[in-house]
C-alpha cells in the first residue's frame, strides 16, 4: 500500500488525526511490508539519551526571532561587505526597553551543552544597558567579537536588580535569580545567530 515514510512517522508519533491513524493502522495490519517499514522507522525515532539538566540550571533563552520581551538583531554593516570572520567585531542592536538605566546588561554565548555568561564575569564589570550608545530610534548598540564556530548563538538578557547575580554564590548558582526571572517571563531576553563567512 502506498503510504509514505512521513505519514508512517506521523502515525508512530501519534500525530495523525484519528481517522488517518485508523487508516494507517489498518494498512499496517494488512501489509507485512508496511509493518516492516514501520518497525524500522520506530527504531529510528528512539531519542538519544543525554543528561537531563536540572530545571533550576536551565537557561530558557528563546531562539532568534522569538521575542522574550525584547528585540535583538545584528546591525547591518555600514560599509562595504558584511563578511565576518573569527576575531572580527560585529554589532548587535538592542531594541528600546523601559528603565534602561536600571537594567543590567548580560551577554550570553551558547556552547554545546548550555549557555555561558560572557559578560559580566566580575562584580566590577557590571554595566546598565542604558550606558550603551543610543541610536535615534532609542535602540542601543553593542559590539562583540566573533568566535571561531561557523554558527554562533549570542543572547542578551536585561534583568532588573532583583535578578542580578549573587557574586558570593558558587559559580553554578551565581545566575539562578536571572534564570528564574527569564523562565517566569520577568527578564527581557533575546538571542541572535551569527554566521561566519567562509
Amino acid at each position: 500500500m502506498n503510504i509514505s515514510d512521513a505519514r508512517l512517522l506521523a502515525w508512530l508519533s501519534g500525530a495523525l488525526e484519528p481517522g488517518d491513524a485508523l487508516y494507517v493502522q489498518e494498512a499496517v495490519v494488512a501489509d507485512a511490508g508496511l509493518a516492516g517499514r514501520a518497525a524500522t522507522l520506530r527504531a529510528r525515532l528512539a531519542p538519544p539519551t543525554r543528561p537531563r539538566v536540572a530545571a533550576a540550571q536551565r537557561w530558557r533563552v528563546p531562539p532568534p526571532r522569538v521575542s522574550g520581551g525584547m528585540g535583538l538583531r545584528r546591525a547591518t554593516a555600514a560599509v562595504m561587505s558584511e563578511a565576518l570572520r573569527a576575531g572580527e567585531r560585529f554589532r548587535l542592536r538592542i531594541d528600546p526597553v523601559d528603565r534602561p538605566d536600571e537594567r543590567l546588561l548580560v551577554v550570553l554565548y551558547r556552547t554545546d551543552d548550555t549557555w555561558e555568561v560572557v559578560f559580566p564575569q566580575h562584580p566590577d564589570e557590571t554595566v546598565a544597558v542604558g550606558a550603551l550608545p543610543a541610536q535615534d530610534d532609542g535602540s542601543r548598540s553593542l559590539d562583540l567579537v566573533a568566535r571561531a564556530a561557523p554558527r554562533q548563538r549570542w543572547a542578551i538578557a536585561l534583568p532588573l536588580g532583583d535578578a542580578a547575580p549573587d557574586w558570593d554564590a558558587p559559580a553554578e548558582d551565581r545566575w539562578s535569580s536571572l534564570r528564574r526571572a527569564i523562565a517566569a517571563g520577568e527578564a527581557p531576553v533575546a538571542s541572535a545567530e551569527i554566521r561566519l563567512d567562509a
Binding site: 512521513a6 508519533s13 525515532l45 530558557r60 520577568e186
Partner: protein
C-alpha cells in the same frame, strides 16, 4: 461486523469478509441503479452522508447529481456497478478487512463495464455512497471512538489550561513543560526523520524547540499558540460540531458572509438557498441554521464535499476522491479553527469540562506539533512566533475579489510553472505570509518575468506591484489547482530525460498552457524531478 451508531445514520462497517463486502456493495449498486432510473430528489439514497437528514441539503445534493455531466470510464463503471457474478474473488476471501481495502483490491483487478447513459448517474451515486461511509467512519466515528482515558494529570492539566485562559501562564511554565514538552520534541524528531536531517541539525533544532516552545505558545502579535492548541483540544470532542458550537454570533456572521461570497462555497450556498435572491439573505439563512443546531455544520460540510466530488468527477472521473474530501474538509475545518481561536479566551467552560483533559491535550499537542514542525521545516526552523500554524480567517469585507473565469487559466499555468521550477514551497510560504523568507532568484524571476500583469495590481506612485489579490485567491484555490494538475505532473515525469525533451514537453502542454505565461525555454530536465517531488509530498501536511 458493524460498529453501533445512532439510529439516524447507517451503521459503520468495520472489518468484514469478502462476502460481507459484496453484500454491502450489491445493496449500494441496486439502490443506485434504481434511483438513477427515476431520480426523485426526496428519494436520493445518500444515507451515508449526514446531509440526508436536512431536506434542503438533500435536495441540493440530488439536483447536483441529476444535472451533472458525467462520463466515467469502463474501469470506473465496473468497479462500482459490475454484477457480483462478474467479479473475481480474492485469494483470502475469509480475511477480515475494512471496506476500503476490499474496494482497492477490486480496483486493481482491472475489469471493464460498457458505458450506458443510465449507468453514469448510478456510478456517481454508488461512488458517493462508498465515500460517504468512509467520511462517516474516518472523520466522525474514529474521533468519537478514541478513548481519552482519565489520568492522574487531569487536575494539573486543568490548572494549566486555566492559567492560559486566564492570561497568567508564566508561573505554570515548569509544570507545563514537564507534561507537554516531551511529546512535542518526539513529534519534531519524527518530522526531522521524515526528511532525513543530519544528527547535528536535529540536535540544534531540538535545543531551539526546547527553549522556544513556551514562547511560541505565549505568542506574539497574532493569535497565540496556546489558543490554536486550545481549539485542537476542543476538537477532540468532535472535530466540527465542537467548534461550531463554540462560535458566537459574530463568528457565525463572519463565517456566513465568507461562505456565501467566496470560492466554491459560494456555489454550494447558492445551491441550498437558490430561492434567496442575494448573498446577504443566504448568509443570514446559513447563520440561523448553524446557530440552531451545531450538528448541522457537519451536514452542510457534507453537501459541499458531495458537490466538489461530483463537480470534479465531471472532468476527472478517476480523481482521488479522498484527496478531494481531505482538501475540502481540511480547509473548512481550518477556517473553523481560526474563528474559534480568535475568541479562545471564552472557551474556559467548554475546555475545562472535557473529561480526560490530559490525554486530549497530549493528543492535540502532537497534532499541533506535527503541523508546526512542517511549517518550521519550510522556514529552516527559524521558530518565528509571528507565524501561526492555523491559517488566519480574514474578514471577507476586507478581501479583494477572486479572479474570474477569464483569468483562471493564467493563474493555473503560472502555478504549474512554479511547481516545475521547484518553487512550490516558496509559493506556499509566500501565499501564507507574503514572503518566502529568502532571496531566491528563481522565485524572484517567477514573479517579475513570468507572472502576467493581469494577476497583479499597480500601486500608485510605486514601481513595485501588489500581489495581494493573487495571494488571497491562491489561499483558497492552490490545493484544488494542484490536485487538478496531478495527472499532468505525472505525465511530465513520464516524458523521460532523453534528447528532445523540450519538444515532448511543449507537445504535452499544448492547449493547456495559457499564452499569458511565457513558455519556458530551458531547465526541462529539472521539471521531471520537480514534478515527481510535488507528487511525492502531496500527502504531507502544509
Amino acid at each position: 461486523m458493524t460498529q453501533p451508531h445512532n439510529g439516524d445514520t447507517p451503521p459503520i462497517e468495520s472489518a468484514m469478509t469478502w462476502a460481507q463486502y459484496i453484500d454491502l456493495r450489491e445493496n449500494r449498486r441496486q439502490q443506485s441503479l434504481r434511483w438513477s432510473a427515476a431520480p426523485e430528489p426526496a428519494a436520493v439514497p445518500l444515507g451515508a452522508w449526514r446531509l440526508q437528514a436536512d431536506p434542503a441539503l438533500r435536495d441540493a445534493a440530488a439536483h447536483t447529481l441529476a444535472s451533472a455531466s458525467l462520463s466515467p470510464g469502463p474501469a470506473q463503471l465496473w468497479r462500482h456497478l459490475a454484477a457480483p457474478g462478474a467479479l473475481p474473488t480474492p485469494p483470502d476471501p475469509a480475511a477480515q478487512r475494512p471496506a476500503w481495502q476490499h474496494h482497492d483490491w477490486l480496483a486493481q483487478q482491472g475489469g471493464a463495464l460498457e458505458d450506458a447513459p443510465e449507468r453514469r448517474l448510478a456510478w456517481a451515486l454508488a461512488a458517493l455512497d462508498h465515500c460517504g461511509r468512509e467520511v462517516e467512519r474516518r472523520e466522525r466515528w474514529a474521533w468519537s471512538a478514541v478513548q481519552h482515558t482519565p489520568s492522574p494529570h487531569d487536575e494539573a492539566s486543568a490548572a494549566l489550561w486555566a492559567g492560559w485562559l486566564g492570561g497568567q501562564p508564566w508561573s505554570l511554565r515548569e509544570r507545563w513543560e514537564a507534561l507537554y514538552l516531551s511529546p512535542v520534541v518526539r513529534t519534531f524528531r519524527g518530522v526531522c526523520e521524515a526528511r532525513r536531517l543530519p544528527k547535528p541539525v536535529v540536535t540544534r533544532i531540538v535545543r531551539d524547540l526546547e527553549e522556544g516552545f513556551f514562547y511560541r505558545l505565549v505568542g506574539g502579535d497574532g493569535v497565540p499558540g496556546w489558543a490554536e492548541l486550545a481549539v485542537r483540544v476542543l476538537e477532540t470532542d468532535a472535530p466540527v460540531r465542537a467548534l461550531a458550537a463554540a462560535l458566537d454570533a459574530a463568528a457565525w456572521d463572519r463565517l456566513s458572509r465568507c461562505a456565501v461570497s467566496r470560492g466554491s462555497w459560494q456555489e454550494s450556498c447558492a445551491a441550498v438557498w437558490s430561492t434567496l435572491p442575494e448573498a446577504g439573505s443566504r448568509a443570514r439563512a446559513l447563520t440561523r441554521a448553524g446557530q440552531a443546531d451545531p450538528d448541522w455544520a457537519e451536514a452542510w460540510m457534507d453537501l459541499h464535499v458531495v458537490r466538489r466530488l461530483v463537480r470534479t468527477w465531471e472532468t476527472r472521473p478517476d480523481a482521488d476522491a479522498w484527496a478531494i474530501i481531505s482538501q475540502n474538509r481540511g480547509r473548512a475545518r481550518g477556517r473553523l479553527r481560526a474563528l474559534v481561536a480568535a475568541g479562545a479566551t471564552g472557551l474556559a467552560d467548554r475546555l475545562l469540562s472535557l473529561p480526560g483533559l490530559h490525554a486530549r491535550t497530549t493528543a492535540a499537542i502532537r497534532r499541533y506539533a506535527w503541523a508546526w514542525a512542517w511549517q518550521e521545516m519550510a522556514l529552516d526552523f527559524s521558530f518565528d512566533i509571528a507565524r501561526s500554524v492555523t491559517p488566519p480567517c480574514h474578514d471577507v469585507a476586507t478581501l479583494p475579489a477572486p479572479f474570474g473565469a477569464g483569468l483562471r487559466p493564467a493563474v493555473e499555468t503560472w502555478v504549474l510553472l512554479v511547481v516545475l521550477r521547484g518553487r512550490l514551497s516558496h509559493l506556499r510560504r509566500w501565499v501564507a505570509s507574503g514572503s518566502t523568507g529568502d532571496r531566491d532568484s528563481t522565485w524572484a524571476r517567477l514573479l517579475s518575468d513570468s507572472l502576467p500583469d493581469t494577476l497583479s495590481e499597480a500601486v500608485p506612485g510605486k514601481r513595485a506591484r501588489s500581489y495581494r489579490r493573487l495571494r488571497v485567491d491562491l489561499a483558497e484555490s492552490l490545493d484544488d489547482i494542484l490536485a487538478a494538475q496531478r495527472p499532468l505532473l505525472a505525465a511530465v515525469t513520464d516524458l523521460g530525460a532523453a534528447r528532445g525533451l523540450r519538444g515532448r514537453f511543449t507537445a504535452l502542454v499544448d492547449g493547456r498552457w495559457d499564452g499569458a505565461v511565457p513558455l519556458p525555454r530551458s531547465g526541462f530536465p529539472s521539471f521531471l524531478k520537480n514534478a515527481q517531488a510535488t507528487l511525492d509530498v502531496a500527502e504531507e501536511p502544509t
